[in-house]
Structure formats: C-alpha cells, structure tokens
Symmetry: C2
Subunit: 376 residues, 2 copies
C-alpha cells in the first residue's frame, strides 16, 4: 500500500501489531505488517534475549519496541533506596488477601518485594531508559512510548540511532504535546481500545488528531480487528492502524488458556475501563477482580501507578496460576487488558492468517465503497 | 449513491438528519439527504402543523418522523388518572429549587403539573401512538423508534401504510430483537453519539450489527459529522449514516443561542453520559447541571424515565430562558444532548452547506482510499 508510513518504514501493509509476545511480533512482521514488542514485562536482559530471537526470525524486516513511560508517577515511589512495596498501604494488602481468600485462590501469599521493585521501576522514566538502551542496540524500526510524552533523552537517543519515535495519545491536546516533544508518528487511540485509554472514540478522535498534527502521520488504534475497521480508520485519514487485542486470541499469543477462553466467549459489552490493574484507567475484561475493586463494599479503591500495578500483578500471577488449574474462584477473578473488539474474537487463528484476512477484507471494503459511489 | 437504502427510499445520498427542527429536516431533504423530525417535543396537533409545513417545503421528496418509545417505563406513572408530577419525590423537587437558587436563576418556580403530564405521556407507548397516527397521515418515507423495540401496533400501522420502520440500537442483541419485532432498517448507534446511547463504540458496533441482521440494511450513528466519518461508517458495512449533533450548530437549528455558543466552544472531552436529563444514560454537554446531579454532595440522584425527564425539562425551560438573558449561573447550568463530535463543530453554517460539504469530503475520502490501494 502507498502510505507515507509504508515507505518510511519499508513495509507492505500499514498494520501495526502491538504484542508482549515475540512470536506474534515476528509472525506479523514476516506477513508484511509491523510487529511491536511491548517491553514492559521484561528486564533489560530479558528484552535483549527476546529481541535477539526476533532478529533471527525476521530476516531484516522491520519491527519495533514499545516502552511504557508514564507522564506522572508517584514521586515518593521513585526513591531508589526504598522498596516500592513498602508504599502499599496495609488495607490494600489486606484487601488482596481477603479477595484471594474469598474466591478460594489456593496459592500462598508470599512477599513480593524484590520482584515488585524490579517491575515497578521499569514503568518509571529511569526504568524505561534501561529498556531503551537495549532496544536501540537491535536493528529496530520504531520505538514507541505508550504513556505520556517521550522523555527528551529517549527522543535524542532514537534520533541519533535514526529510529523514528511513536507516541500513543487519546486527545488532540496530547497529540500536539507529543509532536512538540519530538514524536515522529502519532498513534491516536480511541476509548474502545484495550489498555490505557481516554474517553474519546476512535471515530471522533482520529480525524481531529490527523488535522491537528499534519503532516505528521497518524495511526488509528481502538476498535480495529478486521479489514473493514482498518478501511474505516484509513477513511478517517489515518496512514495505518495499530492493533493490540486481535493478537490475544492468536495461536502464538502469550495469553493464558483461561483468559483466552474468557475472551473467546466475551461480547463487546464485557469490557470496562478500570483503575484496578495499573492505577490508571485501562480497558480490560470485566471480572470479579474489576467488580470487587471498583464497586465492592470492602474495596479501599485502587492506588496510583505504579503501586496499583504492583499490587495487581502480584495477585494476578497467583490468580492466573490457580485459574490454569481450573479453580473456579480464580477463573472468576482472572482477566486481562482487551478492547471492545473482544466481541469479534471467536476463534483461535495463527497471527499470519489474521494479517492476511485483514488485508483481504480491507480490499473488499475499499472496493465496496468504490462501487457504491460509482467511481469506476 | 448506489446503496439499497437510497433505492428503497428514493434518495440521492444516504445521509439521515435527525432534528427537532422542521427547517433542518426540510433543508437536508431538499439537499438530497433524508430529514427525520424528532416528534418528542410536540403534541399530536403541533406535529400535524410541523409536518404540513414540511410537506409544503420538500415538493414530495421523502422525509421521516422519529418517536421516542421507551421499552420500559415506570408503570406507576402510567396511571392516566394521576398527575405524573405527583410521583416526583419531594427531595427531587427541593433539589431543583436549591439548584436554581444556588446558581441565581431568577425565573419563578411554578407548578408544572398539566404541561408535565402532557409531556410525560408522550414518551409512553400510549402517548407515542397519538404521534404515530398523525405522522402516518402525512406522506412520510420512514418512521423511527428511538428507544426499545417498536410496539407491534406501530409496526402494523406502518406496514399498512407502506412506510418502513427504523429502530435505533446500541447492542447486537437489541438489533436482533428489533428485527424480530419487525424493523425494516436498523440504526446502530455508538456510545459517542448524543442522546440515549450504550457503551459500545460505533467502530466496534456497526460491523457486528451489519453481520447479525443481514440482509436488513444498517445505518451507522455516533461520531459522524463529516464526509470522512461517513466514508468510515460505510467502510464498516453501513448502508448510510444517521447524524444528529452536526445539525445543532446549523443556522436553521432550534438550539438556543446560549447552548449553541457552548457547543461551538466545546471540545470532544466536554460531553458526558448522564441520567440527569431523562432518567436514562444520555450523552450531553457537561455543565453544572450534570455535575450537580451526578456528583454533587446534595444530589438525590436522578429518577427513572419519564419522571426525571419531567423534572429536567421543567427546570431547563427556566434555565434556558435565564441563560438567554445572560444570567451567568444559568449559562453554567444550561446544556443539551450532543455527541462527542461537538469538538468538530466550530462554525454556524446552513444545513444545506453541511450536506454538500459531507458529500464532497466523502468523495475525497473514497478517492484517497482508492489511491492508497492503487486500485486504479
């Protein structure tokens, strides 16, 4: 396809696949799209291993890396001398213990201090820097910042390495700020997306962002998991699309079987924007976890980021393991980030097949429009 | 354009304009679109007057009528022997009195009983029947039901008169139910729309509804106020679009000057889905009214429909009049139903010009897609 972003990045089809799973990233890149590895789950050493593996798979085809850099973090949690978990109030720990007990999750509650510190630091500006250093040692084609404007240091290093910087936004104001901060590519993400989102829908947000930041290219995100939706996004003025949820039910996905089953059964009414997993509003599957935190009588209310993320990740690791063993209470609690398109995901397919189906349906949608308007 | 709905209704361009203003309905119909008059604001006699006026303007071109038929109404309020206002609890009346006083709205609080009864009954199934009777005496091309499945009697009468029935839905499940109830045309409305909406965005909802009710034609609603957005909606599989908000800042619109000024200044972040005006979640401009009802310390919480509608309409009539006089507290309170596209509306234009601009931009968007894909 002839969009500016295809030319700039040297790709056939402007379909960006955000995934925490290296197999998805490689499969999409090899199918003519552009895989972007979410680095949040990795330490710098692990990230290096993952990227080395991808390099071996994609034969020089371009792929990217996404780091989560929040604009605002709880400053008290940034003190490197302290343990992050020490900042989690007693009643929040108690509430998690209560939840696990109420739902009969059998796994023991162990102290999480060291792992939590490591994990929590990664979502700070300082922590992200370590990941960026590793990423730029690999032949990546894009580095993305999922939250807040990219730190000046990240932009400077990417520039030096000749790697374009992409930034996710949910408002026109943020898009302008990101471009001012040096973003080369804006991902305008509607409220229907999985993960951290704003209030404005993709249909409304994308044209406004396109007009506000032109000639900077814009990718559309949120509500896109089919070729028709991709064609719609491009009709709005986007140069391509950024998809996350659609990969979560692919064969390659890291999604645990219990969560995958819940995704396949869910309708588009089964997601909620909740602060219960990260401390910021993030769209995810509704589950007993979101219900208990958001409207449970005993809920102390979620903490900010990164503390809520620590609390939730620690608990979810146990819940996920118990759900895999088939414990019914754990199955009620377990969830994951996903957009409203979850209602469209009803079968497990290889990621490559998803790409090819989207390309094919995209072509049909454009052809249908052409015939409707009689421009032949 | 060659969509099935254009052929069925005999229109050039599948752009449906929902408006409470006869001038907008006539202007859009005369420009090649399809105007639909919202009948909720009228008594049967007034509706007859409005439709007679439209008949005189459109020279036989087709237009439609929309009635608000809620699926569920508070049964206790349906007793024709009682005054609807008698069902409004004292503390809700007191809260309105308090609000008007707090914001210095000068208009006196008068009993609303008779007008409220008349107004409230119109949004019941029985009340809607009177409007439907009147509508079917005019040469209308469509009758629409904005809430809940169309009553069997409405479908039967419309069938007899050869008039297609359209129904607005916010979920796939409701779409299936509407088709089973006899709807000839489904309007799939995303959460970003103004007025009563569900949770699912247009981008996600439309393709699912199209697939679920095929071959019944689907119009897309919510987030559509430009030709690019119309092209996106058609790429999703819609046969046309249903727009409401975009007409509210036209020259012809009935929107009061104070509200129009607020709309022109608003961004897409300035709407909220609130139960404070009708008792059901309806997207509208954020204002002191929505803030006070939804999160004010003294708020008793909104009532159901139609009681909250009575309370709100009675108060808003006074607030609107005071806002027109420039009373600052009234300007803070005043609002109206509008979708997230309000952020795009920044000038007052004739409705005809809006239609022509949408047609023109639609063509450009389709042409851009054609060039991107190289299908030339």
């Amino acid at each position: 396809m002839r969009t500016s972003i295809c030319e700039r990045l040297g790709i056939e089809f402007p379909l960006f696949a955000f995934s925490h799973c290296r197999d998805v990233v490689a499969a999409v890149t090899n199918a003519g799209g552009f895989g972007v590895l979410g680095a949040i789950a990795y330490s710098p050493e692990q990230l290096d291993t993952e990227l080395t593996w991808i390099d071996g798979q994609v034969g020089g085809r371009p792929y990217g890396v996404d780091v989560l850099v929040p604009g605002k973090v709880d400053a008290s949690a940034l003190d490197r001398q302290a343990h992050l978990m020490d900042f989690v109030p007693e009643r929040h720990r108690d509430f998690v213990t209560h939840l696990l007990s109420k739902y009969g999750v059998s796994a023991p509650i162990q102290p999480l201090t060291a792992a939590a510190d490591e994990f929590g630091r990664r979502v700070t500006a300082a922590g992200a820097t370590g990941l960026i250093d590793v990423a730029l040692k690999h032949p990546i084609g894009l580095i993305a910042s999922a939250l807040g404007p990219p730190p000046p240091e990240m932009v400077a290093r990417a520039r030096e390495a000749g790697v374009p910087v992409a930034a996710l936004v949910g408002t026109v104001e943020h898009a302008r700020r990101q471009v001012a901060a040096g973003a080369d590519l804006i991902v305008a993400q509607g409220t229907e997306a999985g993960g951290h989102t704003g209030d404005i829908s993709t249909m409304v947000l994308v044209p406004q962002v396109v007009d506000a930041v032109a000639p900077v290219p814009v990718l559309a995100a949120g509500g896109i998991a089919s070729g028709r939706q991709m064609a719609a996004a491009m009709a709005l003025g986007a140069e391509g699309v950024w998809c996350g949820s659609v990969w979560l039910t692919t064969e390659e996905a890291e999604t645990s079987p219990a969560v995958k089953r819940k995704f396949l059964a869910a309708s588009s009414l089964d997601t909620v924007r909740s602060r219960s997993r990260t401390g910021k509003p993030a769209r995810q599957l509704k589950s007993a976890w979101t219900e208990e935190w958001d409207s449970g009588q005993e809920s102390p209310g979620p903490l900010g980021m990164p503390l809520q993320l620590l609390v939730a990740e620690g608990a979810m690791a146990r819940i996920g393991a118990a759900a895999e063993k088939g414990e019914p209470g754990a199955v009620e609690l377990v969830n994951y980030f996903v957009g409203q398109v979850v209602g469209q995901l009803d079968q497990v397919r290889p990621a490559r097949e998803v790409v090819y189906d989207m390309i094919s349906e995209f072509g049909e949608a454009v052809e249908r429009l052409r015939l409707l308007t009689g421009s032949d």
